[in-house]
Amino acid sequence: MEYDKILSDVLGRKDFLVVGKNVVRTDALDKALGKARYTADYVPRGTTLLKVYRSTVPHALIKSIDTSRALEVPGVETIYTGADVTGNNQIGYALPDQPFLNDEKVHFIGDPIALVCARDEYALEKASQKISVEYEELPAMLDIDASLSEDAVDIHEGGNIALTTKIRKGDTEKGFSEADVEVEETYWSPYQDHMYIETEAAYAVPESGKVTVICNGQSPFLIREKVAHILGWSLNQVRIIQALTGGAFGGKDDLGPLVSAYAAFAATKLGKPVAHVWDRTESVSYSNKRFPARIKYRSGVTEEGKVTAVEVDITLECGAYANRAPFWLWRQTAHAAGPYEVDNCSVDGRAIYTNKVYGGSFRGFGNLALHFAAENQMERLAYELGMDPIEFRLRNVLRVGSRTTCDQVLDHSVGIEQCLKAVRDASDWSSHREPVWEGTKVRGYGVGLAYHGISTSRSTPDWSAASLLLNQDGSVTYRTGIVEIGQGSPFGHVKIVSEIIGVPLEKIRIELPDTDSTLNAKPTHGSRGLMLGGHSRRQGISQAQREHGGVRRRVIRDPK
């Protein structure tokens, strides 16, 4: 096709003009001048503020909620509970296990029960202290063993196991019988907070039959879907504008929909704008965390250094809600053998509810814990064999034609071996193997390998989208649903745009994602923002060139 030809022309260039060049981000100046606006910066003086009232016990049935004394606090405008939710009181991501406002049961300290609206923070605080909830407390399941014990109390209907995963490849019994050395160990990885410097925030402005939310998330279109679902509205009644965002790291992928839904719910009920900005204590205490995990790992290896079998048992702690645990656990399960070809694999995963804060998206999406276990195993095996850790890994790494843990044949390029050898040579590895003591510290070189399936995966179609407006003066308006959270993906896109259509970078303006005027580019997570976003830019642009043949030449010649 014609646009394929344009593409191959551009990509065939020996030297790019913009892509790969060290150019200055177009958003950097405003940020350095203090002029860049983040969600809370849009909130006008006097806007009604919202605070979530949360449970003070980890596991209990709610007998009654009394807000009457809180409503008498001067400055309090209203308080909403689950009884006020007329749309859908359910905001679970993967499973319908997470009420928007809990009115029957609470599942962790911090479970949302009520939304307090008031004129200032002081009234919010005072009112929150005067809400009284009568609980019938249940035994709290505070770790995975408690949740799995025989006398465990169910946190959700259907028990404390949210889901299980399972892979059987080859014959592990045979694999272990061929092994000369075995290593078996249990690895723990804990909760972790994202700690973005900008806390979660949303500012909702209602109008007749519509609500606009300015917020900080990672997927404006997921936020729109969740807000519309909670309100019981259609998608075209909800407009999400993503402001510049002060870090996200996965956390705002889950929190964006929640805080936006709280603000939008209160704003539409109240009929006036509502701002909902978390403070640091709320953010650290109640935002979702990296899912903790316990990984039991058994590996067998021959004297020659070939891993013959792995047996991996992953117990993931969801916390109070499953949230993204199914996808997180599947990712750990699918990567269980690490970046190595192992013919015999047995992998079992379980995601377990506990009465603690729940987990969610976080950079690496499960693979950090998994590789921590897998690489510790490889290190132990190398030590047991008396073999150099890099040499040992090279005998097992995935190559073209290898089959992964889930038996996928890697028929494209696989760069692991090349990468490892380059690191070995560039670091002068062999001469740094002896530990060097410096006082109480010891320095030495170690090696770790990891691989990660990027983007959304899980067998759903993955695509992206963007639009370019070519204006009469040669300037370009660029819109994408991929959001700016510090990583600069939208700017990466416009570098590709500039390279292909020949418009200088300073003539391209990136607009904020706005679900009323931006095409859905799906979420900004899993390293897909530039990877998929960038590809669609290329294809979209070449198509635009074909359809508006003359524009490109004109723009290049007269870029005023």
């Binding site: 950097a28 203090g34 900008e198 806390t199 002060g246």
Partner: protein, 155 residues
């Protein structure tokens, strides 16, 4: 109560409750949004500004405490030659990512170079130890500040 002080050189008087913090007075009462709120407990440094030239976290200062003092935010240093060098060094060294820590970080870097025009790398790290950045890993920020030292024209 009324608080009178100079904001970026201009005399101002604000009516504010005595328990309001300086950062809240600036953001909510005066619309100065460049001063960011990250933790409200003096840890993250996003709200750093200068009081009588000294960098402080404005979340730990009560509004009445700036009575008769000089408060300087990033806006007040926009045309300052040292800040211009720092700003350009930050931008060109990739030290600006999400940008949320940037105004506070620049204020701390400014105070550092104003008092110590030729800091060592260790002194640069000390100079910005009160400001947390979660995007860059600090390397590019440190490089930018050291680069700014090179840019400052000899007097």
């Amino acid at each position: 109560m009324e608080v009178s002080f100079k904001l970026n050189g201009e005399p101002v008087t604000v009516t504010v409750e005595p328990y309001v913090s300086l950062v809240d007075m600036l953001r909510d009462e005066m619309g100065v949004k460049s001063v960011k709120k990250g933790c409200e407990q003096g840890e993250c440094g996003a709200c750093t500004l200068l009081i009588d030239g000294v960098p402080v976290t404005s979340c730990l200062v009560l509004a009445p405490q700036v009575e008769s003092r000089h408060v300087t935010t990033i806006e007040g240093l926009e045309k300052n030659p040292l800040m211009i060098d720092l700003r350009e060094a930050f931008i060109e060294n990739g030290a600006v990512q999400c940008g949320f820590c940037t105004p506070g970080m620049l204020i701390s870097a400014y105070a550092l170079l104003r008092d110590n025009p030729h800091p060592s790398e260790e002194e640069v790290k000390r100079g910005i130890e009160g400001n947390i950045c979660r995007c860059t890993g600090f390397t590019k920020i440190i490089e930018a500040i050291l680069d700014a030292v090179e840019r400052i024209a000899p007097e």
